[in-house]
């Protein structure tokens, strides 16, 4: 089980991020990105701190956090694997790749393996359409996925 920081700690670390970004025009998204980078997700306890600092309602902050696919309500696995499922990758068999990967990892999309090693997510285009099917593992791009590369990915996330 991942240890969750205590709420007072979340409050103080959140406040520090807000302090750093508050001067920006339209600071909410940069603040949320900063918080997610700090905690690996956007903790619930951070929301009232942001609302207070930006003088907006908690509902508004929640509305923004829940609107965007990127913000997580829970920490992800140690690795995050994003598999492109958009048209270009579809034309090169990304459906079969997804099915195989789900089977190898024993999880579906938006799920994390029980050992917490990897979270699998669909993504709609990585801009690697000239080397489909494509994926992104912890921010590193991988093109022309095939069985061999899938095995390498699975070995890497399990190590």
């Amino acid at each position: 089980m991942t240890m969750q920081p205590a709420s007072t700690e979340i409050t103080s670390r959140t406040a520090a991020i807000i302090q750093e970004m508050k001067g920006l025009e339209g600071p909410l998204l940069p603040i949320l990105h900063g918080i997610q980078e700090e905690f690996g997700h956007v903790p619930k306890d951070a929301l009232p701190v942001i609302a207070e600092a930006l003088n907006i309602s908690r509902a508004e902050v929640h509305g923004v956090v829940s609107f965007y696919h990127d913000y997580r309500s829970h920490p992800a696995g140690r690795h995050v694997l994003k598999l492109c499922q958009a048209e270009s990758c579809q034309s090169m068999g990304s459906d079969a790749i997804a099915a195989k990967l789900k089977q190898l990892l024993g999880i579906g999309f938006h799920e994390t393996t029980r050992d917490g090693s990897v979270t699998l997510e669909p993504v709609y285009c990585l801009g690697l359409c000239a080397c489909s099917p494509a994926a992104m593992l912890d921010g590193e791009v991988i093109g022309r996925l095939d069985d061999e590369k899938l095995d390498e990915i699975v070995a890497e996330v399990r190590s």
């Binding site: 579809q90 709609y124 080397c131 093109g143």
Partner: protein
């Protein structure tokens, strides 16, 4: 002279192993005690040759590709630093047919120069456009851009100069230039390539836009799926600021302009300009009703130019070589060049910049070389997830805004995704609806509810429940979405759906019939 080796750091090249190649080359240099400079350039866009390594020789640049780490030792043994022969030898890059056939205006430097060297940028014609613009009145610069015939490369095709003129003519204590780099359309990667391979051209284009319209602040809204592009843009802005290209006095002129790079958060709809503005303001990416136009009331309610990356990156060459030069390329009302992105199941995938007017058939069959799988081409989706699927019968359509519209399609951001004959067009139509349902901002009913009902109705066709009646229902629903949606997400989702139904009716027949027909 110390040898120079160019190894792309473009995401596409990295996805194909460029980093491992770079490490292997650096290792080999160290081992052999050879001193050389490794330049991490962008990609020239011939992805079937990536990672494409180039060396600067006495006879100009010589390319090798696609290079695998295991090739590196033998490359050195073959004397590749002086252009020696090797099985990966490609010769002069400009003479590689895929590159030789192109007209590179916007992408002239991409893959050639060091993306983060302002010196290299200037040496290749960079900042000439901005220097010329600084010598003109803002109105004269706007007139040049209008005269060039440049239209919005994000997809809508609205004349860029007209947009700029509206902002110039609108009074405001503060105005903004917003660059839409939320390139979410599948099959497109031109924005990513230019941001990673020639970031200064975008900075220059935005600065010209700022000076021409009276805006002093720019934002580039880059999607979070592009971490490499974000990193390069941030570094480039920093360099431009230090060099006085950005700041209180642009190149020593009385004009001020500065910019920031902002990162999206994974919402496709934020590629829609008004949703993008809301997102920049720190709100949910909800589409705004127009009017007011962003040119009148845009970011934070101020007059705002919002342009696509490629539109802005095409401005420097227009201001450098003149409106007439740019306008001379193209056909009809589509002037200049367009970076066509050939993707999906295609043999020679990559970016191909050319004047408007090539036919779809030339692009797919001649340039793209047909499918990667070697099977017949069944359909081509042009313009991203909201673009129509074209059958071979429409391959004579020239690449032109109006010509595509006349065939119930759109150019969009000029992505071309090729599918072979194993594609199931009903599945593709269903995906279009499903994608719209996932990504709808939820503001208007036709898009929010229509897309979900669309998926359900198509599922009933799959299940063989009153297929004809349900097909008629999908058609009716598409009509409602097309005319009743607030923006292109709901409004254009009918394109892939209806084109699939119209051009590939066999795929929509009930299951038993479909099986029997095979």
């Amino acid at each position: 002279m110390i040898p120079r080796i160019y190894i792309p750091a473009d995401s596409g090249a990295l996805a194909l192993g460029a980093e491992k190649v770079a490490k292997a080359i650096a290792g080999e240099l160290a081992e052999r005690g050879i001193e050389a400079k490794i330049v991490r350039n962008g990609s020239r866009g011939a992805y079937f040759l990536e990672p494409m390594v180039e060396v600067a020789t006495a006879n100009g640049r010589i390319a090798y590709g696609p290079v695998k780490p295991s090739d590196v030792k033998s490359l050195f043994d073959s004397g590749f630093l002086t252009g020696g022969h090797h099985k990966r030898w490609l010769g002069t890059p400009d003479k590689i047919p895929f590159l030789a056939k192109q007209t590179r205006l916007t992408f002239a430097r991409c893959g050639v120069t060091d993306p983060l060297s302002l010196e290299s940028y200037k040496k290749h014609g960079g900042l000439n456009g901005l220097t010329n613009a600084l010598a003109l009145t803002p109105a004269a610069t706007v007139a040049q851009v209008t005269e060039s015939g440049l239209r919005g490369r994000g997809g809508a095709g609205f004349p860029t100069g007209i947009k700029w003129k509206t902002v110039l003519d609108t009074a405001g204590d503060r105005k903004y230039i917003v660059c839409n780099a939320d390139e979410g359309d599948s099959g497109t990667f031109a924005d990513r390539m230019i941001m990673e391979g020639d970031p200064f051209v975008l900075i220059e284009g935005m600065t010209i836009a700022g000076i021409a319209t009276g805006a002093t602040k720019g934002f580039v809204y880059v999607r979070s799926e592009y971490p490499h592009a974000v990193a390069v843009m941030n570094k480039a802005v920093e360099i431009a600021r230090k060099a006085g290209v950005l700041g209180a006095s642009v190149l020593g002129s009385p004009y001020a302009f500065d910019m920031e790079i902002r990162v999206g958060a994974g919402a496709y709809v934020c590629g829609e300009e008004t949703a993008l503005l809301d997102s920049l303001e720190g709100k949910r990416g909800m589409v705004r009703a127009k009017p007011p136009l962003p040119a009148h009331k845009g970011l934070f309610g101020k007059p705002t130019v919002i342009n696509n990356v490629i539109s802005l990156a095409s401005v420097p060459v227009i201001m450098d070589k003149g409106a007439a030069y740019y306008k001379d390329f193209g056909m009809g009302r589509s002037r200049g060049t367009i970076p066509i992105q050939i993707a999906g199941n295609v043999k020679y995938a990559g970016l191909f910049e050319a004047a408007f007017g090539m036919t779809l058939g030339e692009i797919v069959d001649e340039i793209g070389g047909g499918t990667a799988t070697g099977r017949p081409v069944k359909a081509v989706q042009v313009g991203g997830p909201l673009g129509a699927y074209f059958p071979r019968a429409l391959f004579d359509t020239p690449f032109d805004y109006e010509a595509f519209a006349a065939k119930d399609g759109l150019i969009g951001h000029a992505g071309v995704v090729v599918f072979d004959d194993t594609a199931d067009m009903l599945k593709q139509a269903r995906f279009a609806m499903e994608f719209c349902a996932i990504e709808s901002c939820g503001k208007c009913t036709p898009c929010r509810i229509g897309s979900t009902r669309g998926v359900e109705t198509i599922d009933r066709i799959v299940a063989g429940i009153e297929p004809e009646k349900n097909l008629a229902l999908v058609t009716d629903l598409c009509n409602t979405m097309k005319f009743g949606s607030l923006c292109a997400l709901g409004g254009f989702t009918p394109y892939p759906v209806m084109s699939s139904i119209t051009h590939f009716p066999d795929d929509f027949k009930p299951a038993p019939v479909r099986v029997a027909a095979e």
